[in-house]
């Protein structure tokens, strides 16, 4: 059903693409037929095999401390949603699980979990207790089909007695399970999302866990701050902030917990992007009068310009796999389009063939670009601004959001399976919310209420 819908949308795109460039039309039409034959391309969301069916038991409480029950509830819910969100599991609904609550390998009867209706291939279970003012949690992952040597994982965690610690333990255990069962790709349960929080006339930079929990402010600058970008090693946060001389790149140290120096120059300076080595920063600077892409070191020194075309050049992003290419948005031919080039400014390639394209994010494996695109941009045109993913090698694309209002600022998760983005159903900027979805457009859910914008997913 969904593939039918996708194909028809693409065909419509081809039919609407008239105009002065018949070659493009032909290319697009060829693309449509290829797509029709191949059913699109695969993002990393689908591993090509059937998702592993996993059962997640509620952990067994092993202490009578009054806090145990509420913290264990938090832990159970977090672990379940981490595994459900991972995108590689077929998770057994809790209502289908056996009644028993095994707390240790001796307690579990695997046949019970392997049999219908749960029919689990893997079982995660364990115990949760508060002992001498510490959370002590034992987690196990068992292969339900291997009765002789079922143990895949056995982990023990100790942490302080807080709600946040209970959540973090669940994230760590979930990441272990995902790492083991996904063929070696790291989980994302411990990653963070940085974003812009709209507060009246001001915009501050906030941080939250990948699942929307633990939302809190990072900056208190009392001005408009935009485009947060976290360094690959999570040490610094680059963003752009409105001061007396307009927007300038600012730098916040998450280690020192304060602003650190970044040389400011003339003109408007916008949309920073970290190179994967953590040593270079690309951003849009109009110090020479026209907004161009520049690269500096992390202090704003050693500036070099890499584009020189009249018109806005903005929103650069490095290829995180190689660090040798940059995708960015340029208005050199009119409406903003998506381009890629080498970091020395050579080998410029236009990726989109029309419409209004903005906000690129490069997938961790280097193969895809996610971006916001209004394909038929203009007064009275149908459709809206949606999130798309393009395969760079072929320039084929798929549309991930449909008819949900204006979408913008996609950002890939470090495992390449998820995309976080901003959406406003009624188009009003103040109603922007941050959403997450799998990279194939499924499992969409909101992470924040109104007032969240410009999300940026940490690199690890």
């Amino acid at each position: 059903m969904s593939s039918l819908k996708r194909t028809s949308l693409i065909r419509r795109a081809g039919l609407y693409c008239f105009g002065p460039i018949p070659v493009l039309f032909t290319v697009l039409f060829a693309m449509v037929s290829t797509l029709h034959a191949q059913e699109g391309f695969k993002t990393e969301t689908s591993s090509g095999v059937t998702n592993i069916r996993i059962a997640v038991a509620d952990f067994k409480p092993l202490s009578t401390d009054p806090q145990t029950a509420s913290l264990k509830t938090t832990f159970d819910a977090t672990l379940y949603s981490d595994l459900a969100n991972a995108g590689i599991f077929d998770i057994v609904s809790k209502s289908l699980l056996p009644q028993s609550t095994p707390g240790s390998p001796a307690d579990i009867s695997l046949q019970q979990w392997a049999a219908p209706p749960s029919s689990a291939a893997m079982v995660a279970f364990g115990s949760f207790a508060i002992q001498s003012d510490k959370i002590v949690c034992s987690g196990y992952l068992f292969d339900a089909k291997n009765l002789q040597y079922p143990q895949v994982l056995a982990k023990q965690y100790t942490d302080v007695v807080t709600e946040d610690a209970a959540r973090q333990i669940a994230h760590r255990f979930a990441d272990e399970i995902i790492f083991r069962l996904s063929g070696g790709s790291q989980g994302i349960a411990e990653t963070k999302i940085y974003y812009v929080k709209i507060a009246g006339p001001d915009k501050e930079i906030w941080e939250m866990d990948y699942d929307g929990a633990n939302q809190h402010a990072i900056t208190h600058l009392g001005t408009v701050s935009l485009s947060p970008r976290i360094a690959p090693d999570n040490s610094r946060l680059a963003f752009s902030s409105l001061g007396r001389d307009g927007f300038q790149i600012r730098m916040y140290s998450l280690i020192l917990g304060r602003m650190v120096n970044f040389s400011s120059t003339g003109g408007t300076n916008l949309s920073p992007a970290w190179a994967p080595n953590g040593k270079d920063l690309a951003f849009s600077s109009s110090r020479t009068g026209d907004p161009e892409i520049w690269i500096t070191d992390v202090n704003g020194s050693l500036a070099r310009r890499i584009t020189s075309f009249r018109g806005p050049d903005v929103s650069p992003v490095f290829n995180p796999r190689t660090g040798s290419q940059i995708a960015w948005i340029s208005g050199r031919t009119g409406l903003p389009q998506l381009y890629i080039m080498d970091t020395d400014g050579s080998a410029v390639q236009r990726m989109t063939d029309g419409g209004y394209a903005t906000s690129p994010s490069w997938s961790p494996n280097g193969q895809f670009l996610a971006f916001a695109w209004d394909r038929k941009y203009g007064p009275g045109a149908p459709g809206g601004q949606d999130i798309y993913v393009m395969e760079i090698a072929t320039k084929r694309w798929i549309q991930l959001t449909h008819d949900t209002g204006r979408c913008d600022f996609p950002s890939w998760s470090p495992d390449g399976r998820h995309i976080v983005y901003a959406n406003t159903a009624d188009g009003k900027a103040a109603h922007m919310k941050i959403w997450t979805m799998l990279a194939d457009g499924t499992q969409k859910r909101a992470l924040t209420g109104a007032g969240g914008d410009m999300p940026n997913w940490s690199w690890k």
Binding site: L270, D290, G331, D408
Partner: protein, 256 residues
């Protein structure tokens, strides 16, 4: 003939007259001599009226500077200066008035009251109203500025000046030429469609287009400062072309 001689003579005349009157009226009582005690308090003492003078140096100051008051009185028992209070009969005092002040000195003595005045002018800087002539330091009024230097509006997703911008640019340039003290901030703005980052770059191009037009018309670039606000500061938020057009502008304001 000096004052002392005059006074002596005057006293003599009065004394003589008094004796004469006393003699005339006292005849019927006693013809023999005059009892000096019967004449009351010393007839020679009627006090001279006080004298007073006050000066200020300098007579005109700028706001915040101070001025030295200097006063001299004679024959006064009580000397007061309005706003300062009772003071010595002769003295100096440093004052720092916040606006132009009349220092009013009153000297009261047995011989009467004498007053003296000095006016200290304080130059308070005031925003000049209508611009009479091009003068150094004159930024003209806010209203006159906006009347002559009008915002420039742009087409959708464009930062090219429209034909109607040419006349307003020429008018703005001539006004700025007549008011060389004015410095200008050019703000670049966009409507709320499209993406925030791209709109900030577009706003920068719009503000720069306006700046270039003014520089071509002869306004020194050093007097112009450019800030892009993109779609971060909207003039209105309705979703229609009238409002969008309002927001697609390069706005001029005085750079203070």
């Amino acid at each position: 003939m000096n004052i002392t001689q005059l006074k002596i003579r005057k006293t003599l005349v009065i004394t003589t007259a008094l004796i004469a009157i006393a003699a005339a009226t006292g005849c019927h009582k006693k013809a023999s001599g005059v009892d000096p005690n019967a004449l009351g308090p010393a007839p020679a003492a009627p006090a001279a009226p006080p004298t007073a003078s006050i000066t200020a140096d300098p007579l005109a100051i700028d706001l915040g500077q101070s001025v030295v008051l200097n006063w001299r009185t004679q024959n006064a028992t009580v000397v007061t200066i309005d706003g300062i209070g009772e003071v010595n009969s002769n003295g100096t005092q440093t004052v720092s008035p916040s606006n132009s002040t009349n220092f009013h000195l009153t000297a009261k003595g047995d011989g009467g009251t004498t007053e003296a005045n000095v006016r200290v002018t304080v130059r308070v800087p005031v925003a000049p109203s209508a611009p009479p002539a091009p003068t150094e330091g004159d930024m003209g009024s806010e209203a006159a500025f906006h009347q002559n230097v009008q915002d420039i509006f742009f087409d959708y997703d464009s930062y090219d000046l429209r034909p109607d911008a040419a006349t307003s640019t020429a008018q703005a340039a001539s006004y700025l030429a007549a008011h060389p003290a004015i410095k200008v901030v050019i703000g670049g703005y966009c409507d709320d469609r499209g993406s925030a980052e791209y709109n900030l770059a577009l706003g920068e191009n719009r503000a720069n287009a306006a700046r270039t037009a003014l520089v071509s018309a002869g306004v020194p670039a050093s007097r112009l400062r450019v800030i892009s606000y993109g779609k971060e500061k909207q003039f209105c938020t309705e979703e229609n072309e009238t409002c969008w057009q309002q927001n697609r502008r390069a706005q001029f304001s005085l750079d203070r």
